[in-house]
Amino acid sequence: MTARSLDWESGQGERKWRRRSLWALLLLVPLALAGQAYDSVKTLLGGEDLFPRQVAWGQSAHFGGSDWKLTDLRGAFGMSSLPPDSVPVLADFSVKVGDPDLQKLWLGCKVMLIDAEGRRWSPTSAVSLKAPGDVHTCVSAIFSGARRGDTLNLRETFLVPRQATKTIRPAVGLASERPHFLFFQLEKD
């Protein structure tokens, strides 16, 4: 074997590996980008209520360590001093506490109403209706000191346009479960 043929062979090998490396980049660059973006995407998705988990009327769903059940959704008609064509809506839930670490599991608790167009209403402070003493809001329930097996009664008050009341349905999101959220069906559904 002459020096020249050795040279030629190593040149061939080098060329082959260069080609392989270039092809490998096609795979490695997207993989590296995905690896870098993974945490950001996870944080982004974890902050949004994106994927609904449907809950049939009368059923309860395990969410954030507890069992959530929608007990009532009704309008409080006939109130004065509100914007025209707006209706206060009360959503009542009964939650059986499973894991009592609510300060961790219920963090970022958000109850909302969603209509057929996908518009979302958050609880309002414009309407204050008197509630019985044992009724909490989602946020106040976090600090209620509830134990395993306790049942919490939650109520949130919303202000929605009258024409939206036909299609609104309640939903609940918790930081520990995002991007999934509970989407409750009503009796009429």
């Binding site: 979302r120 209403w121 346009p161 024409q163 939206a164």
Partner: protein
């Protein structure tokens, strides 16, 4: 020799290109800054989460407000500019909390904090389908009144989020240097 020259020229070109890129690149604060939604007085300016329409601007020397049932008059060394704005939420409930008045020379005035107890000031919570009016109140210099821009955003650090930029147009000045339509006292106890 030619090859060396070519290399030197290439190096110089690359340096010039890098320098050009460096001086022309936007500042980081601009890259992640608010995204402007432009409009003028009377326009509905549509941002990502909210819509704002500045209906009117009023100027006054004094403001009359209700404070815990007592009437109080606020004077100023400059002039009070009161903008009535109608807000609407786009797809979900939100809060509009920040507004500032940018004068023609670039001086920016935040909303006054002297009236924090009055009704109808920001922050204002808005729900879809339920538009709401609010008053934005600024204490500005008379020479910052004409051709000012109103900046409104949901929160203070509105990085990569909409900011309504509403140009308020020219304002004719009177003999005393104040806007011609300046009233002596504006009554904020009246509903918006």
């Amino acid at each position: 020799m030619m090859r060396k020259m070519a290399n030197v020229i290439l190096l110089l070109l690359a340096t010039a290109l890098c320098y050009g890129l460096q001086v022309s690149k936007p500042h980081y604060a601009e890259l992640i800054g608010p995204i402007p939604a432009y409009g003028k007085l009377g326009d509905a300016v549509v941002g990502r989460g909210f819509e704002a329409r500045a209906a009117k601007v009023a100027f006054s020397r004094n403001l009359k407000v209700d404070r815990y049932g007592q009437t109080k008059v606020f004077t100023t060394g400059g002039i009070w500019a009161v903008v009535t704005v109608e807000f609407a939420a786009s797809a979900q409930s939100t809060t509009v909390a920040v507004a500032s008045w940018r004068g023609p020379t670039g001086l920016a005035y935040d909303q006054t904090e002297r009236l924090s107890f009055a009704d109808g000031l920001l922050p204002v919570a808005i729900d879809p389908g339920l538009p709401k009016k609010a008053r934005l109140i600024f204490e500005v210099r008379p020479d910052e009144v004409s051709n000012a821009t109103l900046l409104i955003s949901e929160k203070l650090m509105s990085a990569l989020d909409s900011q309504a930029e509403i140009s308020l147009g020219p304002v004719a000045a009177g003999a005393d240097g104040l806007p011609a339509e300046t009233v002596d006292t504006l009554d904020l106890t009246q509903p918006i």
